[in-house]
Point group: C2
Chain length 400, copies 2
């Protein structure tokens, strides 16, 4: 048996936690299991490195940011490997490059193109625990790259796909809940969830797994187990299977924080301005969400959309170029926003869901800036201040 | 014109210092110079990483120590590159691997085997300032390696040799002195020194340059300039030339600290024990110095030698194996020692030097454990407590 286990930043935040992880790995290795461990940078390391980069330069080169960030995981893999060796185990650490993780795309937001597992396979066949740096790889030019948010999950799932085995993701929560239990303590724990359900929740802000990792798992049939790194409570399996939510109108609720809302007013209605804007944002790989365009009485249009507040500087520099060329057009950016989404494949058959939520919000004084619906979800952009109240209202109303 | 400049850990200890270095580089780049910069890890980073490694494991695997340590320079090169870019310069960072620095030997003590400069040449030809991680490389197995003490100097000099240019080493002193000015404030500054003289001083503990870097420079005819990173005082050229010390009996004085003295008593005189010991130490790449062997009245011999106190654990584990097999033999290790050496090619023609120093020491109550002489130097192993007094006595007596 062979497994890829992934431990996130908070579960390797210090040496004591790493030692506990090493004990767990030792027990499993002693039972003959072949083990690949993917680790993130320790605790807040990545943020510390990023803030150093910002001190060095207001808008640091992304190639160099990748060069910096990759050191975080490199320290983790070396330390965990030393601890495993100290416990008498054969272990070896591999950077993304050494693990054969070839990427493509833009620095800081690369995607895995392929994995050459020969180095990993060699060490596994010799009985080593192979400790791989998550979140990183190399590109065709031999440059060090990183995979962006949730990148260590992607590394783990992609490795499991290539090595034909299960993937276990250890984090600080003991699985998937209908609502984030930090937001709503009475949230319902799920023993199993399908890839589709997980992606819907993840796209809408559930922090447990990034949707692209789930996509890879689905494409290659990798079973993912999400569990707590340091507690023995039962986790959640993400796998193919019956949707267990047909009878429920809503599977879950998710909250995406740190959102900004961008509004460009007085855009000429005619012309390719809107297309231009989104093309330019796509070139910078800025992910845009919840687009709405409203015609105004004066014949112009107002365009709004949301995006991650982290992209604010880059976004503004792109948009100012466009807006400055259009007389009268104006750009407004509002941060401190969040997106609350309710997800459920039963929703399309129960059109009452949307109405019920609109009523709940109206009766309780919650205003929202935007709403968007899909077949299986409804999302609301609102001010951060409404968070707790909106979550509790929806979770109570739909027994999440 | 093309130059390799190297900045040590204390000259890149924080972003402010890096920014000052970037200004210097900018001025020179604007004059059309092709620039390769080699940087060390910031300030005490390497020591911090080492102490983390020791917390993870009492005797961490050297492969993993290299994996950890290499992150220190990787952070420096990314930050300095960002700062250079912020100043409007084209700059790019390269790890040891990306700079083509192939090494061989044992982890943590590798030697440069060859450099493939194609990546550096490509960036230089496109006008980039190329920022290379000092102290690191990769081996035939694709593993990350480090070069041991003084490794960044070695990187810089070897690059200069391969790129056919001068090498400038910037540090926190403004060149080479007859005695370390931190030990003896009236020390004499040298404008120029030959490779041979520099090596003699370096072998005997002068901290400015490692002898193997000077060796490479001498073999490839690389002129080295040693200067202060942040002051504009004149530095020292290390280059081929007339020995400027023929008329002087002593060129300089150096002090090597953190020495341990190892004594093995009651070794059987016959047999290959001594050879065995040094072969085993060599296998672990422990560098041994000042060996003395004294016959005892009982027919046994007492073997003493010095080594760096950093190798104590490893040394003791090697020697215990040997000593435990010999009934009666005993091992003693004394740390807190230092080695004081006086160097000078004029010494062989003036046999009075040794006598004069013995007298100085005797009259001033300085005892020493060992003495060794070569054609051009005399070295004394003594307790740390004698340091200041011994240095001042010799420097005064020989006007260093």
């Amino acid at each position: 048996m062979r497994t890829v286990l992934k431990f996130g930043g908070s579960s390797v935040a210090d040496l004591d936690r790493m030692k506990r992880i090493a004990e767990k790995l030792k027990r499993r290795r002693k039972e003959g299991e072949e083990i690949v461990v993917v680790v993130s940078a320790m605790g807040k390391t990545t943020n510390q490195l990023l803030s150093m980069a910002r001190e060095a330069s207001e808008n640091p080169s992304k190639r160099e940011v990748d060069m910096m960030l990759a050191t975080g995981e490199q320290v983790s893999i070396a330390l965990l490997t030393m601890i495993l060796q100290e416990k008498g185990l054969q272990a070896v650490s591999l950077t993304g490059y050494q693990a054969g993780i070839l990427t493509e795309g833009m620095h800081t937001k690369n995607k895995i193109r392929d994995i050459d597992p020969k180095n990993i396979e060699k060490y596994l066949s010799e009985g080593y625990i192979v400790v791989v740096a998550g979140f990183q790889g190399y590109n065709e030019n031999g440059e060090i790259t990183t995979l962006g948010r949730g990148g260590s999950d992607t590394t783990a799932v992609a490795l499991a796909a290539k090595l034909h085995c299960h993937c276990e993701i250890y984090t600080d929560v003991d699985g998937i809940y209908g609502v984030d239990p930090r937001l709503y303590p009475k949230a319902r724990h799920m023993d199993s969830i399908t890839y589709e359900e997980m992606k819907e929740m993840a796209f809408l802000g559930a922090k447990v797994m990034e949707p692209r990792s789930v996509d890879i798992a689905q494409n290659y049939g990798v079973v993912i187990y999400v569990g707590s790194a340091h507690e023995d409570r039962r986790g959640t399996y993400i796998q193919e299977g019956e949707r267990n939510v047909e009878e429920r109108s809503i599977t879950g609720l998710s909250v995406l924080e740190n959102i900004m809302m961008v509004t460009i007013s007085r855009l000429p209605e005619a012309g390719t301005h809107t297309a231009d804007i989104f093309r330019k944002l796509a070139e910078e790989e800025i992910i845009v969400d919840m687009i709405s365009q409203t015609p105004m009485p004066d014949g112009s249009v107002t365009l709004s959309f949301t995006a991650s507040a982290e992209d604010r500087k880059l976004m503004e520099s792109v948009l100012h170029d466009v807006v400055d060329q259009l007389s009268g057009a104006a750009l407004t950016t509002t941060t401190e926003m969040l997106k609350v989404s309710v997800v459920g494949s039963g929703m399309r058959t129960q059109s009452g869901v949307a109405a019920r939520i609109f009523t709940l919000f109206a009766e309780n004084g919650i205003t929202f800036k935007q709403v968007s619906t899909s077949e299986i979800s409804i999302s609301y952009t609102m001010e951060k201040a409404h968070k707790e109240k909106a979550v509790a209202l929806i979770a109570d109303a739909f027994s999440l």
